[in-house]
């Protein structure tokens, strides 16, 4: 594969493992073992069985008739929102907890923004009977309250992080510090294609089930494996990595990621890393970052807690640089409008993150026969308060 990570853990100039020495034994062990573990038959059997019987995979590929009539083209929705726990995040946490067990780890830590990854991690920890600690920015604890309660009900300890902007970046700092403090019994389940090698590759592989399914599902629907367009939202970029993965080497498939512009890419209130960033090192990985000229990370902003991150996975930095994928910016308002439009046209309430992918439809011009796949990375239950506020403001009924 042309866009695969190299032996040293880089995608072109991006990636690597810029880790403190304290993390070296854990990262080295993971790096040396993840591919063997994941290709082993015991792992594969357990992973596939759980994806089918516990998560509910394959997730449907749904032909969205009214959306297609509205925007043109033949638009299909990949329904990751129908997974157990309500988003694509569980594909990764199922895989990583099986890896953690094989590494004989007994304690799991995670960071979370919107709470989707936190819930997915707390869920698999309950399933496997492992102790679970989730770091979450204090601002996100407040704005994603239902997910905090779910994690607690699942038995996880949720630790609010009070540093920085108190969002996803700060939660990640908290989890990394925990791992340095607990080097022996703990596995860190990173929720996106970020962090030190091998995480970006490992998470992309675990999420690649999404595009693997699309290939045969599209064959059933359309008699062809490859769509013309694939659209996905990008924060760290794990759902986009999963939905792009098996199309990366098919250049005729146009891949488009949508970043969160927040209030706009020319304001300071944005989380559009590729639109506004430059290369640097954060969270043990060299990638595109929002930063000032002194190398200090700029605090991001987005209405969507899951996209509110000043970095992006190194794979996406490389896809952006090489031009293999395109990335567009979507504002808070555009995402909100798209969420309501999808809800009224198809009866699907998307997560705010996923709504950023749908907002791109407003800016696209499709031919009648274009086949378009959009990843519905998560469902909107956790965002109901935001949506209710919008309805009250607009006096919608």
């Amino acid at each position: 594969m042309k866009y695969e990570v190299d032996k040293k853990g880089f995608y072109g100039e991006f990636g690597g493992a810029y880790i403190p020495e304290a993390m070296y034994p854990n990262i080295e062990e993971l790096k040396n073992r993840y591919l063997d573990i994941m290709s082993g038959s015991s792992f594969q059997k357990e992973f596939q069985d759980l994806l089918r019987d516990y998560v509910g995979r394959p997730s449907p590929l749904y032909y969205a008739r009214r959306l297609s009539e509205h925007y043109g083209g033949r638009i299909y929705l990949k329904r990751e929102d129908l997974n157990h726990t309500g988003s694509h995040k569980v594909n990764n946490t199922i895989g990583q907890i099986l890896i953690a067990k094989r590494l004989r780890k007994t304690r799991i830590i995670a960071e979370t923004g919107a709470g989707q990854h936190g819930v997915a991690t707390a869920t698999v920890c309950a399933l496997m009977g492992l102790k679970c600690v989730v770091y979450m920015g204090a601002v996100d604890v407040a704005r994603q309250a239902p997910n905090v309660l779910r994690m607690k009900m699942l038995g996880a300890e949720v630790i609010p992080v009070e540093s920085g902007n108190k969002t996803l970046k700060d939660a990640t700092n908290g989890a990394l510090r925990d791992w340095i403090n607990n080097p022996l019994d703990t596995h860190y389940i990173i929720g996106s294609v970020v962090g030190p090698h091998p995480y970006p590759d490992m998470v992309a592989r675990l999420q690649s089930v999404i595009s693997e399914e699309i290939k045969w599902q599209l064959m059933e629907h359309e008699g062809r494996e490859n769509p013309d367009y694939v659209l996905a939202c990008v924060g760290g970029g794990s759902n986009a990595a999963g939905v792009f993965y098996h199309f990366l080497d098919n250049p005729e498939v146009k891949l488009i990621g949508t970043e969160a512009a927040g209030l706009g890419v020319d304001t300071h209130e944005t989380a559009a890393t590729l639109a506004t960033g430059s290369p640097g090192v954060l969270h043990s990985c060299r990638t595109m970052l929002m930063q000032n000229e002194d190398g200090q990370i700029t605090e991001p902003y987005s209405i969507s807690a899951g996209l509110d991150y000043p970095g992006i996975g190194p794979l996406h930095s490389q896809l952006f640089k090489s031009g293999r994928a395109k990335y567009e910016s979507i504002t808070d308002q555009e995402a909100l409008d798209a969420a309501f439009k999808l809800t009224r046209l198809e009866g699907i309430i998307p997560a705010l993150e996923s709504a950023h992918a749908f907002a791109l439809l407003e800016k696209m011009k499709f031919q009648e026969n274009d086949v378009v796949v959009i990843n519905v990375s998560g469902r909107g239950d956790k965002d109901m308060q935001t949506y209710i506020d919008v309805m009250q403001k607009n006096k919608m009924d």
Partner: protein
């Protein structure tokens, strides 16, 4: 000869102190250094603030945020240090995270260190392999030591490798933790100190993380050539009253 090498050749029981530049006030950097020198400290690590200090505990995190709020930057720090060698002879190191140095430019960073008289750098998130491949040449060109850290989880083989490539000394992290670790040593640390003492490393070792009192300092010195105090000193700087007096009082509690 690099001042770090000279120091370790002559002295033992080295007392090294860390503080964050730009904290407690933006322009306190030079005064803190001079006062520490007056008090007989052997070596100083000047912390370069970074917005996301993942290897640091609450005390150094807070000092970092304060410093950035005060307006500190790599550029300004070099400006503050430009005359420091007129009055200070002991080894001075910069300690911080990779990204600010990367954005400054590693070549320029090393050149500027040499120009103002910085002897070494400690960048905890720059691992050995990437250092060798990308940056070692620049450090060598400008005669700047790059010091590696090793922890209780670091294997003997890895310790020997780090010993081979570290510049001047090896930073021996005492605890499996971020900075500001609990003071006092547990059994596993004692065994670790002895394991490393028996490795017959070529470089001097300095122990840091969890050193905050005379007792822990002296204990560490039995297993290494000296010790580093960070969080405890940063806390002392935050006390009310005259800063110089606070510095003096703190150093005198150590030796």
């Amino acid at each position: 000869m690099n001042r770090i090498d000279t120091l370790f050749k002559k002295n033992k029981d080295i007392l090294s102190i860390y503080f964050t530049a730009g904290h407690p006030t933006l322009n306190s950097t030079a005064e803190i250094i001079r006062t520490l020198v007056e008090e007989g400290v052997d070596m100083i690590e000047i912390g370069v603030p970074f917005s996301d200090p993942v290897a640091d505990g609450p005390v150094i995190q807070q000092s970092t945020y304060k410093s950035l709020e005060n307006g500190m930057s790599v550029k300004l720090l070099f400006e503050q240090l430009k005359d420091i060698r007129k009055t200070v002879d002991i080894p001075l190191l910069l300690m911080g995270y990779l990204n600010p140095a990367l954005q400054y430019g590693i070549e320029e960073f090393c050149a500027k260190c040499a120009e103002v008289g910085i002897d070494g750098a400690i960048l905890p998130d720059l691992p050995l392999e990437i250092y060798q491949e990308e940056y070692e040449a620049a450090f060598n060109r400008h005669g700047i030591h790059n010091i590696f850290l090793a922890t209780p989880q670091t294997s003997d083989e890895r310790y020997i490798q780090l010993d081979k490539h570290s510049g001047g000394f090896l930073y021996m992290v005492a605890a499996s933790s971020i900075t500001g670790a609990k003071t006092g040593f547990q059994d596993y640390q004692q065994k670790y100190f002895e394991r490393i003492k028996n490795l017959d490393l070529k470089l001097p070792r300095v122990i840091g993380f969890g050193i905050s009192t005379r007792e822990t300092f002296e204990h560490a010195c039995r297993y290494a050539n000296g010790a580093i105090i960070g969080s405890a000193f940063v806390s002392a700087l935050e006390k009310d009253g005259d800063m110089k007096k606070n510095i003096r009082e703190f150093v005198r509690t150590i030796r």
